[in-house]
Symmetry: C2
Subunit: 416 residues, 2 copies
């Protein structure tokens, strides 16, 4: 879109909060509803099978052939006719002559086979080494085997045309082995959303700090949520330059970080209103209340506060949710949810959703004081956080609560 | 070490199971005890802060300065003397003259400040925009503020010399922001273990398949467990070539995949006995019973079966555990542990630990038939697996069991 054709109406439509403050803030549920209109990007792309862990197949994977393709030995041992082993016992060993596995099996003969090789014609079972004694030219079988014992029949594991891997779940390392086993090296997966990050510093020290702090923090979070970085830009930009950066094609999501508040420099919302539309600015959440969002054409644009703590919270709750929707991971927070009990009183304001960092002490979650001082460092001391809904004014001690644990490591079954 | 000085004694010490079978198998607890003698590699390395998510600090991170370094505005608004706002109300607004924030505050004056900037001398609180009406040259304050309101005092968030980030947990994205905020771009973390993979195909078709299937599967699993790939080698090697590949310096762990069974080609244990020592070969586990382990000098060597299903199970249970020990992630399985109930009867052999793939149906875990056919494809249909201890012969329906879920995604709080 051309910036020259921006209507004055648009600039007027959004409420400029600079040096005024927010008149009202949007509830978190309304914000989630706005975000959740964005769904999975379904464009496919071809990638190497080795790169595909965690990606989603464009189509379910259909078995291109039977597995096994032919009857084969399931384990190492001696291929025999099972009926000839009836009555074998350690006190009544039955002798079998050894022969080559390449020829059809002669009566009371056995052929040495390794797991995976085709059975010789006539053989219908494999005697494992521990149920036989091998001599120079024959073996003694000391226990009978049944038809099919030690044999892996054609199509027993997988039938041609079977749906082997659904497209509804992320690919696992075992899927990679499975697909590779058919001699396939490249597959179609859904492409990742492309995220543009604009860290928009201003002249105030906190926003200059945002340049150093928020960029390195947002990049790994965006990758974690299944997207790629389409572009990264930081610096002190004019409103028009910001508006132009937001409008450039190529991204599925644009994040502007910084300049969302009520200071005179906080013109990220104005830049979005110039380039497109501001749908929401000001959210009833703490920290992160100056978060905004809207779109330019079809592309959603997220405005995150520049203060690192607010940026972190707003990313996880809002920007990350949008990106996880687009990447197919779904809206849930990418943290392990743990059941705990409030170890002390939790305080929050009715009408505002509060993200409260906590420390875990056994089954108890202890709130880590106020984060109202923009105390980003408190996050380092936290094990995770609790979300106190806007309908509550906190929790009395002993209330059962859900803690979102920051570390992907689980003492019981650790995960990264 | 030089291969020419290998003693014949060593070759004799290990029991050759080829074409004989295993006389006995080591219990999984003994194997875990062997693996768990290996602990965290504690050598530090310097890396860029952006690359450090999930790594462990070599030393706890100590705050190099106070945060904030000086008293500063916590939010956008007007810096005032709090005592002068006493009595302010919407029906009794108190006027303050506007002045520059660079000068000391005059009586009944206010200075426009943005979050993060130093307070003017004399100011002890910040009035947010929504508690004031701004005119041309003065503001009306409509609610009193207390001393310290809207102010972030020197050292309030972090005191110099405080321990900010422990070295006991992996670094998070927020830590990266926190460290970056001090202007630090590079940190010391513990280095990752280096893993050499040797996929040792043989002439049997199953082991040739291992070459295609297991390599692509092992690489992402090793990375997941916090290690790097030191080298990757695959092909049909002689025993001496295998022994030499195992002995070359540079790796913290060597994995040989394939040729661990009882067939005539299964000479990976012999190669290990030639180069070093075989401590364990044959484990009371299913699948994965032909797994072995030992060492060459100080370097542990894992022998994994070539059949993809057995390789997968043996990696997760044994090789992965060793690597997770070395990388500091700890021995626990890297899967989400879920409480479920046996939805049907589970069958296993007493004396053998059984890894049984399951499908989840609500709270019930349904066993996915037998995997004795090396039915690697069953893993794709599974949601996870259950470990049945060697002391059990299975579970009757309704037994509470733990399911290890393959997908890092959690409907309640998704994780990759």
């Amino acid at each position: 879109m051309k910036l020259t054709v921006i209507s004055e109406r648009r600039r007027q439509a959004f409420r400029d909060v600079r040096e005024r403050g927010f008149a009202d803030r949007t509830s978190i549920d309304e914000v989630f509803a706005w975000i959740d209109r964005y769904a999975r990007i379904t464009e496919p792309e071809r990638i190497a099978i080795e790169e595909s862990v965690g990606r989603f197949l464009a189509e379910p994977f259909i078995a291109p052939s039977n597995v096994p393709r032919i009857d084969r030995a399931e384990s190492d041992g001696f291929a025999v006719r099972s009926c000839e082993t009836i009555g074998a016992a350690s006190y009544n060993p039955i002798p079998f002559s050894l022969q080559s596995p390449r020829n059809a099996l002669r009566p009371f003969s056995a052929a040495l086979v390794m797991a995976g090789v085709p059975l010789p014609l006539g053989a219908d079972a494999v005697v494992p080494f521990d149920l036989s004694h091998a001599e120079e030219k024959f073996i003694q079988v000391i226990l009978p085997v049944a038809q099919g014992d030690g044999v892996n029949r054609t199509g027993q594991n997988v039938r041609q045309e079977d749906v082997l891997i659904p497209s509804s779940r992320p690919l696992r390392t075992s899927d990679i082995g499975l697909i590779s086993g058919f001699g396939i090296n490249e597959i179609s997966v859904l492409r990742r959303p492309r995220v543009r990050i604009i860290v928009a510093g201003s002249k105030s020290s906190v926003d200059r700090r945002a340049v150093d702090v928020n960029g390195p923090m947002l990049v790994p979070k965006i990758l974690r949520d299944g997207a790629t970085i389409e572009g990264f830009r930081f610096g002190i930009e004019s409103v028009d330059a910001l508006a132009e950066w937001v409008s450039r094609p190529g991204a599925d999501v644009v994040i502007i970080c910084g300049r969302t508040g009520t200071g005179p420099d906080d013109d990220a919302p104005l830049a979005l209103a110039t380039a497109g539309e501001v749908s929401i600015h000001g959210i009833a959440v703490h920290p992160g209340s100056s978060t905004g969002m809207g779109f330019v054409g079809e592309v959603p644009v997220l405005l995150l506060p520049g203060s690192p703590l607010e940026c972190l919270c707003a990313y996880d709750l809002f920007a990350g949710r949008l990106i996880r929707n687009l990447s197919g991971r779904g809206p849930a927070l990418p943290y392990r949810a743990i059941h705990a009990k409030a170890g002390r009183k939790f305080i929050s304001s009715a009408g505002t959703t509060e993200l409260c960092p906590v420390r875990l002490k056994g089954e108890e979650a202890i709130p880590l004081g106020s984060v109202s001082g923009g105390d980003f460092a408190s996050i380092a001391r936290a094990d995770g956080f609790v979300l106190i809904p806007e309908t509550m004014e906190g929790y009395p001690p002993g209330t059962p609560i859900t803690v979102y644990h920051y570390d992907g490591f689980n003492e019981a079954g650790g995960l990264l």
